[in-house]
């Protein structure tokens, strides 16, 4: 009888266990999914396809105010502006053009405005071999020194192209040099990067390691 007695009690215990389990399941006592901490949406500035700068040609196309480019509003015709240098041969920028920061080449190369600007006609640019270049064609001027890059740019390998890879389906827009490069200080500007990736579980094993390790 002993075994039967024990079996009866085990079965009673199981009934209680099962009923308790059913209640626990219905009450959802554990394993509830933790709500995910919402990752902030990226700043729409990072989705912007605009170029770094706008070229003279862009301004013309957009029919914007071009009074900044009206050189003879201040300068006299047929009177080339005089360039002034300090004791270290650095170009002194006049206060009227204080927005210009010179940085086109190391060791003070290109310290002469008229390497690119035409002193006899300030509304034009000039190459070293004397070609006159319009402001809207400024890439020709860049290419007169930066040959290999110009070749790449023409082929589409350098610089930005947007639109259609399949030219028969639609147009492309090829950017000019100065859409990315400031002609007075051409190195491509650095910028603040967009936010980095987030882990699915944001495990706490290595919270502060993000900066130094992998």
């Amino acid at each position: 009888m002993n075994g039967r007695f024990k079996a009866a009690w085990v079965l009673r215990g199981l009934v209680v266990l099962f009923v308790g389990l059913a209640a626990a399941f219905l009450l959802d006592l554990w394993g509830r999914p933790t709500p995910l901490r919402a990752i902030p949406l990226v700043d729409p500035a990072f989705l912007d396809t605009a170029t770094v700068r706008r070229s003279y040609a862009d301004l013309v196309r957009a029919k914007e105010d071009l009074s900044d480019f009206d050189c003879y509003a201040c300068h006299e015709k047929n009177k080339p502006p005089v360039l002034r240098y300090d004791e270290h041969q650095n170009l002194l920028i006049p206060t009227e053009h204080s927005d210009i920061v010179m940085g086109h080449g190391q060791h003070g190369r290109n310290n002469n405005c008229f390497n690119c600007h035409n002193e006899t006609n300030l509304e034009l640019l000039q190459t070293r071999d004397g070609r006159q270049v319009k402001f809207t064609d400024s890439s020709q001027l860049c290419g007169s020194c930066h040959g290999p890059t110009y070749e790449d740019w023409e082929a589409g390998a350098h610089g930005r192209i947007s639109g259609y890879w399949n030219r028969s389906r639609g147009p492309i827009k090829r950017q000019d040099c100065i859409n990315c490069h400031n002609p007075h200080s051409p190195p491509f500007p650095s910028r603040h990067p967009a936010p980095g990736p987030h882990l699915l579980h944001e495990l706490t094993e290595a919270p502060a390691r993000a900066e130094t390790a992998h």
């Binding site: 199981l14 009934v15 099962f18 959802d28 990752i39 989705l47 396809t49 399949n166 603040h192 990067p193």
Partner: protein, 318 residues
């Protein structure tokens, strides 16, 4: 023989088939409470609204759908997206163009590591924001090494690029010999004639074997229902491309199939401020991509030794 005498009494019925009432009640109580516990254990399934759809359950494999069936499927997808996000999208089934093989080139001299490509891709391709799915991962690499183990993923300086480092974005390489295609047990991922390796999101069983197989960590899995903010939905969709995916399926970069198969550049290329990304048809000798592969001297295909033959070429200008 056994070490001790087992208890010889068992709870067998007293005589052929009849049970006395108490043990019968006890047995029924155990069975009933057991069944109740079983039913209760399945109670979380009350919240299961994702699976219940006969139409979706029996949907055929992409390559077996007739044009009429595909039209119905596209319509169904449009209805679902409208119901979920309140925007009526335009979902197309775009076929590959003849005489086209896509190749991507990335100029490591020009990439500044700004990660705009990562986010433009997320926006274009309706990727989940929480949890985060990003097809492109930008690695910050020290000068002089292409060993990805030296790369850093979570750089967050004040400004990029940082001196002494270069930046290498990695995404699906659309390999000519794709390991992911080889291992998929149900052919849910395959390579199309224009070189894009695609995923049929309605066929994938979510085993994640392709994710284990990819040497470039390019594939992503939906661990839960993706969440896309309504205001950021891109309604211009393709079946094999950027239509919203569901819980439990794989996804990855597909060269913006909804753009490239109508002749446009992918979103990552359009947003890159430095023009580091180049894309086009390698079978067209006049494309910029052909020019690059002809003239640049050194190309890196990541993990070339694995024989995957990626269609993604990294190169340097200077």
């Amino acid at each position: 023989m056994s070490a001790f005498e087992p208890n010889l009494q068992s709870d067998a019925p007293a005589s052929g088939g009849d049970m006395d009432r108490r043990s019968f009640l006890r047995t029924s109580a155990v069975l009933a409470s057991g069944l109740a516990a079983l039913a209760a254990s399945l109670s979380p399934l009350r919240k299961l609204d994702d699976y219940v759809s006969l139409e979706r359950f029996v949907q055929k494999y992409y390559k077996e759908l007739t044009p009429e069936e595909m039209k119905q499927v596209l319509k169904r997808i449009e209805n679902e997206v409208e119901r979920q996000y309140g925007i009526r999208p335009h979902v197309r089934d775009l076929k590959p163009m003849d005489g086209v093989e896509f190749v991507y080139a990335l100029n490591l001299t020009r990439c500044i590591g700004c990660r705009k490509c990562v986010h433009a891709c997320v926006q274009e391709n309706n990727q989940s924001r929480t949890p985060e799915i990003q097809y492109i991962r930008v690695l910050k690499m020290p000068h002089g090494s292409l060993d990805v183990e030296k790369g850093e993923h979570n750089y967050a300086p004040e400004s990029v690029p940082e001196k002494g480092f270069f930046y290498m974005p990695v995404q699906c390489q659309q390999c000519k010999n794709p390991p992911c295609v080889k291992v998929c047990p149900v052919h849910a991922t395959w390579q199309e004639t224009d070189g894009i390796t695609v995923v049929d999101y309605d066929w994938c069983i979510g085993c994640r074997y392709c994710e284990a197989a990819c040497p470039y960590w390019a594939r992503r899995f939906n661990f839960t229902q993706p969440s896309i903010p309504k205001e950021r939905i891109n309604p211009d969709m393709a079946y094999l491309g950027n239509r919203p995916r569901r819980q439990g399926v794989m996804e990855k970069c597909h060269f913006c199939i909804q753009r490239t198969r109508v002749g446009r550049y992918p979103a990552c290329l359009e947003v890159c401020p430095a023009g580091a990304r180049k894309f086009g048809n390698i079978l067209d000798p006049n494309s910029e991509i052909s020019y690059i592969l002809r003239t640049k001297r050194v190309f890196i295909q990541l993990k070339e030794e694995l024989g995957t033959s990626p269609r993604f070429f990294y190169y340097f200008d200077v």
